[in-house]
Symmetry: C2
Subunit: 293 residues, 2 copies
DNA sequence: GTAATTATACTCTAATTGAGTATAAAGGAG
DNA sequence: CTCCTTTATACTCAATTAGAGTATAATTAC
């Protein structure tokens, strides 16, 4: 039993919100996340990640935070350690050779409740069939996919894992034969990349409620509705407009720039900017950004 | 620039609450956390951690969750990756050869506000002197150590890092000459183990508010006051007793066992147990345990 | 000018939280 | 046995916050 120097992989979940849709930067036409091994030339873990992402996608990394570390499942060739990261930025105009952005709700349709309950209800139905008479199973299904007691937007990973356990996602039946139920689908990814994406979504949905990270996803100047739409995209839920504005204003997170945005229709909207001073004035732990309905 | 297989270290922050004090399991008389390299025989990261902790301390690992992964600062010998974990359990009666429990507020005196504001005020004073006329510094000090606007118990790491930046902790002046200010002290640890402990405390303080992990720190049967004291020990703050009980009861997290505890003085207290079914019934993300005042 | 559309500003009610008070059940001192 | 101390348990009340709805203002398209 010897020390086992391990290969370390760095994996990035890069998120942007474009036209009201949250998107993730992928390789191989949506099948893989940018990733690469830690190398001796890398000065730090984040520096290594930055180099890999920029080499693979030409996309500059902005705000980054660590997600989770796990022992990879590729056997044989020694042990693989994977460290995953969440990055927030904005889609640039140019194109990305070899890389492309995909809406994250293509991978998790049931997580988007803005346009109705269809996908969620479909997953709930399949899971209910799977649970059958098992009360513990039924309780878990109801807690994660039910609506009484409120939909909890942060439980993305738990919901994905329950679908996996019920063999309702294709990854779960790769190794073994398919089970009885119908797959609830959602776009697939290689290895456990879809699981990592679920972790990233969960983290972002949680963090956005107590730390002003949304602004990493917005241009320098924005209207309050753009801010709201970005929050809604991430939460996968619609928010009450007047209450949203009340909350933003009383938090003093933003200030007017003096400019207005002329919109395709309707009254022009004031433009705001994030007040970076709040990061020093306030320490963010229990502060609140508008919670989802 | 080649792939660099790295040595992987596993580090454990093991927490228990005994006699109303949160404690951490250490080696070297309080100077180090249990840790060891990942080895080929280990079936998983957690399994490796478990083996190291049990070999070094004879303490069985219970509930465990991952904290953070960082590239170690020991240069030369290739790269070191450290993966840190938080473990919750209870102190056993026997002794631990080579290992010992230390109160975590010995390392972070300013984090315990149950018995008064002395240590916090001392840190605040030293930091105010450090900030001087720098308004950004002063704003950060006030946000992290001030009391107007409310003490935020979860910002343990940020407070420690601010003290470090101000060179008020001994670790910060190890490499260079001491600065002007007086050290605010607190017990020291090797390498960045104290920083890892700060991360663990912060995580636990945050988690305890929305997930029923406290019960990992309690015996099977307990009184409501014992539950409250355990929460207070972790939060470092006193709670309002009637409101605490109201919250616990309406959450239906516990049920009566039918037994009573005879206390050294006063009316006997009912004993309760945790209702494990709540883990299936409810999914914990936004659920609330009593927040600190 | 009118309709459609979006921004912005209030109002009202229900729920939650924070803080304090009152009563019950034990043991010990005299 | 009675009173006092101690802890458990049960209520009450005010202040704040969250949820939901309504009204008015400023634009563009026709």
């Amino acid at each position: 039993m010897n020390d086992a120097p391990a290969q370390v992989d760095l994996i990035a979940v890069l998120v942007a919100v474009t036209n009201g849709q949250p998107r993730v930067l992928t390789l191989e036409n949506g099948h893989a996340l940018p990733a690469g091994p830690l190398q001796t030339g890398h000065r730090s873990l984040q520096a290594g990640l930055r180099e890999w992402v920029e080499a693979q996608t030409r996309h500059p990394l902005g705000y980054v935070e660590q997600l989770y570390t796990f022992a990879g499942q590729q056997p044989g060739t020694g042990r693989g350690i994977s460290i995953s990261y969440l990055g927030l930025s904005r889609e640039a105009a140019g194109d990305y050779p070899g890389a492309s952005w995909f809406g994250w709700y293509e991978y998790f349709p049931w997580e988007d409740r803005r346009a109705g309950n269809g996908p969620r209800a479909a997953a709930l139905a399949a899971l209910t069939a799977w649970a059958g008479r098992d009360e513990t199973r039924a309780a878990r299904v109801a807690a994660l996919f039910g609506v009484q007691g409120g939909w909890q937007d942060e439980l993305v990973l738990q919901r994905y894992e329950l679908l996996w356990e019920a063999r309702l996602v294709p990854e779960a039946v790769r190794a073994t034969a398919p089970a009885g139920g119908t797959l609830v689908a959602g776009r697939e990814m290689t290895l456990d990349h879809r699981r990592i994406l679920a972790t990233a979504i969960a983290r972002l949905r949680a963090k956005i409620k107590y730390h002003p990270v949304v602004f990493e996803l917005l241009p320098h100047e924005f209207t309050l509705l753009e801010l709201q739409r970005t929050m809604e995209a991430i939460a996968g839920q619609s928010l009450h407009k007047p209450n949203f504005r009340r909350l933003i204003e009383q938090q003093e997170l933003v200030e007017e720039t003096g400019h207005v945005a002329r919109l395709p229709a309707g009254r022009p909207a004031k433009l705001f900017r994030f007040r970076p001073a709040v990061l020093a004035e306030r320490a963010f732990a229990g502060s609140k950004l508008p919670l989802v309905k």
